[in-house]
């Protein structure tokens, strides 16, 4: 009881209980909120450059299918996905790397040498050698990868769109 104030014992106990309760709730509650939203706050790991092999192993003028795997870690689980990429070597230095995933619904497109087109088996979409849509339902050209050549090794990095 504070003699200098006109505070009753009951009011004092109420105040102390409310204060301590608020502090305890905050000490547990705020970390609990952080705990819940934690996965949303973590930035997805940026995919590293993926080496595909020596540049001279890809023929000039013909798209060649190359595959690679990439793994993502979600919490306690690791998922390994397999990807396909068509590498078109236009000249000694110029390289175009296209994802083989159709931009319509994600089927795998195939290169048809006779028509010089990528054809999707699912809904008969046709793409040109540079990935542009010739016909069919896809909303945008094939996704392409950023490429770089170091010491004769071709590496790729996914770019959106």
């Amino acid at each position: 009881m504070a003699p200098s104030h006109n505070m009753s014992r009951r009011d004092f106990v109420t105040l102390v209980t409310a204060t301590l309760g608020t502090i305890m709730a905050a000490v547990i509650g705020l970390p609990a909120i952080d705990y819940l939203i934690d996965p949303a706050l973590k930035s997805q790991k940026i995919a590293a450059w993926i080496p595909l092999g020596r540049l001279d192993s890809f023929p000039i003028g013909t798209p060649t299918l190359s595959t690679f795997t990439s793994s993502t870690v979600n919490g306690w689980e690791k998922t390994v996905n397999s990807y396909g990429v068509y590498v078109l070597r236009k000249s000694d230095t110029q390289v175009l790397a296209l994802s083989n995933k159709c931009t319509h619904l994600g089927c795998h497109v195939n290169w048809k040498a006779d028509s010089q087109e990528y054809v999707c088996p699912c809904h008969d979409a046709h793409f040109g050698p540079n990935g542009d849509v010739h016909s069919g339902p896809p909303p945008r050209p094939l996704d392409h990868f950023e490429t770089k050549v170091e010491n004769g090794i071709l590496s790729i990095h996914l770019l959106e769109g």
């Binding site: 547990i28 970390p31 609990a32 705990y35 819940l36 934690d38 919490g75 306690w76 689980e77």
Partner: protein, 219 residues
């Protein structure tokens, strides 16, 4: 403004009556031993809250149970805190519930008209121990696995019915994925539901009969 809002709510919900009857009851002379029931209730609420939070990341399968707890402890912000509170709160709850029972016994508070409060309290103690037993398996580490192996084997020593009880607890002859998922179901659904229901009756009886006076020399 707030007074008007409160008056509106009070008229419809009877908040003042609730407060008067539930929290503003006449009490015998204050004694810290009388607070152990409230402490048990508080610990139950804490266990329920932290337990709900743990299920956000925990996975009750032998493939992922251990890894998901490792992830809670090291990968999630404050996961160590939530699990730590749940882990130590569990032990503390068993201790507090037990001391609460001893207090009721020593002060003879179980006598007329509070016999049913006592009987339900005993059920609550058993359920609390059941929560401890089922929760112990969930980390799915060596300690958990072998403790449950031993615990269910003890249940298997009951005359005649023993083997059946053991198989029912394990969901088969041996500890398996089935054991883990049925312990999980018991730990987060069945036992808590029973606990909540019986705690409700326990509290109703306490409010109805009030708290007992400590016995004096004449008793």
């Amino acid at each position: 403004m707030w007074k008007k809002l409160f008056a509106w709510l009070d008229e419809r919900l009877g908040l003042n009556d609730l407060y008067k009857n539930i929290l503003d009851r006449p009490e015998p002379k204050g004694n810290w031993w009388n607070t152990l029931g409230s402490a048990s209730l508080f610990l139950f609420v804490v266990q329920a809250a932290t337990g709900i939070f743990l299920t956000v990341y925990y996975t009750p399968s032998p493939d992922h149970a251990y890894d998901s707890i490792q992830y809670i402890m090291t990968g999630v912000a404050f996961g160590w805190l939530i699990r730590g509170i749940h882990h130590w709160g569990a032990t503390l709850m068993v201790v507090v519930v037990f001391i609460h029972m001893v207090r009721v016994f020593v002060t003879a508070s179980y006598k007329y008209p509070r016999e049913l409060t006592w009987v339900i309290g005993v059920c609550l103690l058993i359920l609390t121990l059941g929560m401890g037993f089922t929760g112990y398996l969930l980390p799915w580490n060596q300690q958990a696995y072998w403790a449950t192996t031993v615990g269910t084997s003890i249940a298997g020593t009951v005359p005649f019915l023993g083997p059946f009880i053991q198989n029912a607890l394990r969901g088969g002859a041996d500890l398996s994925a089935l054991t883990l998922s049925r312990f999980f179901a018991a730990h987060i659904w069945i036992l808590p539901a029973l606990l909540v229901g019986l705690i409700g009756v326990h509290l109703y009886l306490i409010i109805k009969h009030g708290e007992s006076q400590f016995p004096d020399k004449d008793d």
